[in-house]
Every structure is written in structure tokens, then in C-alpha cells.
């Protein structure tokens, strides 16, 4: 299975009926494709929409209906729109149940860096700092390594997104939780051993007993 699809499928299983969910750009966007049909999620776009639907069919794009990357989307029946102050009131105010975001680094305590590489790539934090600070649950969707280097590090050397730790990291190799501020290996991907995950991970991983395989 493609690494990104595997990550998205696993994260889709974290979402429950009726949740308000905000997906970041990149792998997180794919998560909406794998939600079970009987589970109704309210997807929020930070630019002012709850009820974000699929990409419109060719020729049916509405210029005033876009996602957080400015791409055309649809709105499902029952959707609502609002201004940016309301959108970030929802985010910062603790009304978003789950946010799924990408990452540059996550460290052993679950601290996240995902908005800049000083002097090199400075896209800005956009809504990321508010999302990590305010969402009830923060789930990170990312590849385990970048250019052969672990993205799960002992300590982030890139600027942090928030003082708050993330709750869950899902990669193509593993699911890692941060209960009590310690990186804990809770699942391995199909066909991946605990040893393989450890070898690919710079941060020390806590392992308790047998580690189950990801259900997809």
C-alpha cells in the first residue's frame, strides 16, 4: 500500500460520528477519502466553512468556495460559512474535536515543529499554531523519515508550533502516542517489526508488551 494512503486510512479510524475535524494541507487532506460511509464528520476549512465536501467535478467549481489552500471544494447539504474570527474562535476555543496536521519534526515529548526551516523555508504558520493550541486532539500525519533521517527526534531543533504536545503520530511504519509526555509505540504497520521502527526512530520509544498491528 502507498505510504500516504496507509497513513490516511489509519487516521480515518480515529474519527467518530459527529466530530468537528480540521485537516491540514498534504497527507491530512487524504483522510477524508477513507472515512466509513456511516460516519458523518463535520470537516472544517479554516477559511470559513464547516461541511467541506469533495473536489467538484470538472466545470462545476464555484469561485467563492475554496479550501484552506485556495482550491475549489464543494459544500455538503447542511454546510455553513463564517468569517475568519469565527473560524479561529472555533479552533482556539476548543470546539474542534480533532485536527490532523503534517510535521517537519516531532520530538520525544510530542512537541511539534511544522511551520518553518530558518533561512530556507518560511511559509508561515497560517492556522497551525492556533490548531495545535486549541483543538481537543492533535494527530500528526507524516512519513517516518525525510531523506533517510528520522522525523521523530530526541528534541526539535526547528522552531516549535506550540508548547502543547501532540496526541498521536501516524507514519507508514507506526502509530506513536504521547501519554504522560513520553513517545510510546502503540502499533506497527503491517509487516513492520518493533525493531525496524526503533531503527528508523531517533527518539527513544517506550514499548509495553506486545505491540499490535495497525488495523486499516
Amino acid at each position: 500500500m502507498d505510504a500516504q494512503v496507509l497513513i490516511a486510512k489509519r487516521i480515518a479510524r480515529e474519527l467518530r460520528d459527529g466530530m468537528l475535524v480540521n485537516l491540514g494541507i498534504g497527507i491530512p487532506t487524504l483522510v477524508s477519502n477513507y472515512v466509513a460511509p456511516d460516519v458523518r464528520i463535520f470537516f472544517q476549512s479554516e477559511n470559513g466553512l464547516i461541511g467541506t465536501g469533495p473536489i467538484p467535478a470538472e466545470g462545476l467549481a464555484q469561485a467563492r468556495l475554496t479550501d484552506a489552500a485556495g482550491r475549489p471544494v464543494t459544500a455538503i447539504p447542511g454546510a455553513c460559512t463564517f468569517d475568519s474570527a469565527m473560524s479561529f474562535g472555533l479552533i482556539r476555543g476548543g470546539h474542534v474535536d480533532v485536527t490532523v496536521l503534517g510535521a517537519l519534526q516531532v520530538d520525544a515529548q510530542g512537541k511539534l515543529a511544522n511551520w518553518m526551516i530558518p533561512g530556507k523555508m518560511v511559509p508561515g504558520m497560517g492556522g497551525a499554531m492556533d490548531l495545535v493550541t486549541g483543538a481537543k486532539r492533535v494527530v500528526i500525519a507524516m512519513q517516518h523519515t525525510a531523506k533517510g533521517k528520522s522525523k521523530i527526534v530526541k528534541r526539535c531543533d526547528l522552531p516549535l508550533t506550540s508548547a502543547r504536545s501532540v496526541d498521536l503520530v501516524v507514519t507508514e511504519l507506526a502509530v506513536i502516542a504521547f501519554e504522560n509526555g513520553r513517545a510510546t509505540l502503540v502499533e506497527t504497520a503491517p509487516g513492520v517489526s518493533v525493531q525496524q521502527v526503533r531503527e528508523a526512530t531517533e527518539a527513544e520509544l517506550l514499548v509495553r508488551g506486545d505491540v499490535p498491528t495497525m488495523q486499516l
Partner: protein
């Protein structure tokens, strides 16, 4: 409220003015006002907006033309020219978390000196800012952000200046309309007074100074 032309509205904006411009990745940006700023060759502008769109669209055009001295935004990652000018030091860029940016603008329009937010605590965003503890939780004091002009795009306006926005083109528009000393509105449709139901009005007419008449 006065109706006016694009030319006359933009002629009121001096070089070096501080502008808030509506839009999110160009959606909800008053494109006619942006084009007129370029046509009148305004320089040294400070632009306060969510982002700088992409080259060739909305605020991206102002960046490319070198009309902007400083950008205050939350995200510039989709406009490589903004990044290039920032890293080269030819344009100042101040990055602010999106929720903080919109609240600082809202504070200005609502007569507040600033707001307290947990966003940015424990990150580089807190540098140089006052930190306050309320009920055991740390917050940053983020001060109000004002502008000389708010350039607003509306979906429907009436001839008094009541405004309605559409779908995700609303974004920063109703908030900046409260925070600009002078508010200039470009509307897709202008309708007679009384056509907009009071319950549908998103920006009340007395806030608007100039409405661009359709020609």
C-alpha cells in the same frame, strides 16, 4: 457613504499607506482595487492580509510589482516571490498566527487595546511580548492592529453600504471593514436599498465610506 469610481477611490490612498485587504488565497480579494493600485503605481505600501495569494492573483500582483514595503500575514508559503523577497531582505514580512492576526484586527475595530491568546506561548511568537497568567493559564498580550484603509470585497451591497459576503469569500472582509480608518468596498452586485433583509446584513452600512459604482 459615497459611491465613487475605482480611480477616485484609489486616488485617496497615498504612497506608504497601511492597507488591510480582504481575501484568502485571492478568494474575496477586491481585484479591481488591486489592479487600480497598480495602475496608479502606488509604492511603499504596508499590506495586512491573511496571505499574499500566488503571483498574478490579488495581493500577489502587488508583491510582484514591488509596490509593497511590508507584509503582515499568517502564511506566504504559496507565493514563492514573497518568500524570495523576504529572504533577500527587499520586503519586510511579519508572520502572525492566523487566529491572532484576525483577533488583533478585530480588537482594533471593536475598540479594544488588544487580546489575550494562548496561541504562540512557548514559541518564537512570544518573543518581546507581555505574558499574563489568568486562572493559572499563560496568555500572550497581542495588541490591536489598525490600518489607514480597508479594501473590502462584498458579494452584494446596497446603496447605503450594507454588505453581504458569499461562501468562503467572506474570510477577513467583515473584520477588516471594522478596523480601517477609511473603508472602500468593491461589490459584485449592487442592489436598491431595502433589497437586503436586515437579518442578512453582515456589515452595517455606516461602517462603509466608499462604494465603487459599477460602470
Amino acid at each position: 457613504m459615497h459611491t465613487t469610481t475605482l480611480h477616485d477611490a484609489v486616488a485617496r490612498i497615498p504612497d506608504g499607506a497601511r492597507l488591510m485587504i480582504g481575501g484568502f488565497m485571492g478568494v474575496g480579494t477586491p481585484e479591481g482595487l488591486v489592479d487600480e493600485l497598480l495602475r496608479q503605481d502606488k509604492r511603499g505600501l504596508t499590506v495586512i492580509a491573511n496571505d499574499t495569494a500566488v503571483p498574478g492573483i490579488g495581493i500577489g500582483k502587488l508583491v510582484t510589482a514591488g509596490a509593497v514595503r511590508k507584509v503582515i500575514a499568517s502564511h506566504i508559503g504559496l507565493n514563492p516571490e514573497t518568500q524570495k523577497k523576504m529572504l533577500a531582505g527587499t520586503m519586510d514580512v511579519e508572520l502572525i498566527p492566523q487566529g491572532t492576526l484576525i483577533e488583533r484586527i478585530r480588537a482594533a475595530g471593536f475598540g479594544l487595546g488588544g487580546i489575550l491568546t494562548p496561541t504562540g506561548v512557548g514559541t518564537v511568537v512570544e518573543e518581546g511580548k507581555q505574558k499574563l497568567t489568568v486562572d493559572g493559564r499563560d496568555f500572550l498580550l497581542e495588541t490591536a492592529l489598525h490600518a489607514d484603509f480597508a479594501l473590502v470585497q462584498a458579494f452584494v451591497a446596497d446603496y447605503l453600504g450594507n454588505l453581504v459576503y458569499a461562501l468562503t469569500a467572506r474570510n477577513f472582509n467583515p473584520v477588516i471593514a471594522m478596523a480601517g480608518s477609511t473603508v472602500i468596498v468593491e461589490a459584485e452586485h449592487i442592489v436598491p436599498v431595502g433589497m437586503i433583509s436586515p437579518d442578512q446584513v453582515m456589515t452595517p452600512a455606516p461602517i462603509v465610506d466608499y462604494l465603487i459604482a459599477r460602470t
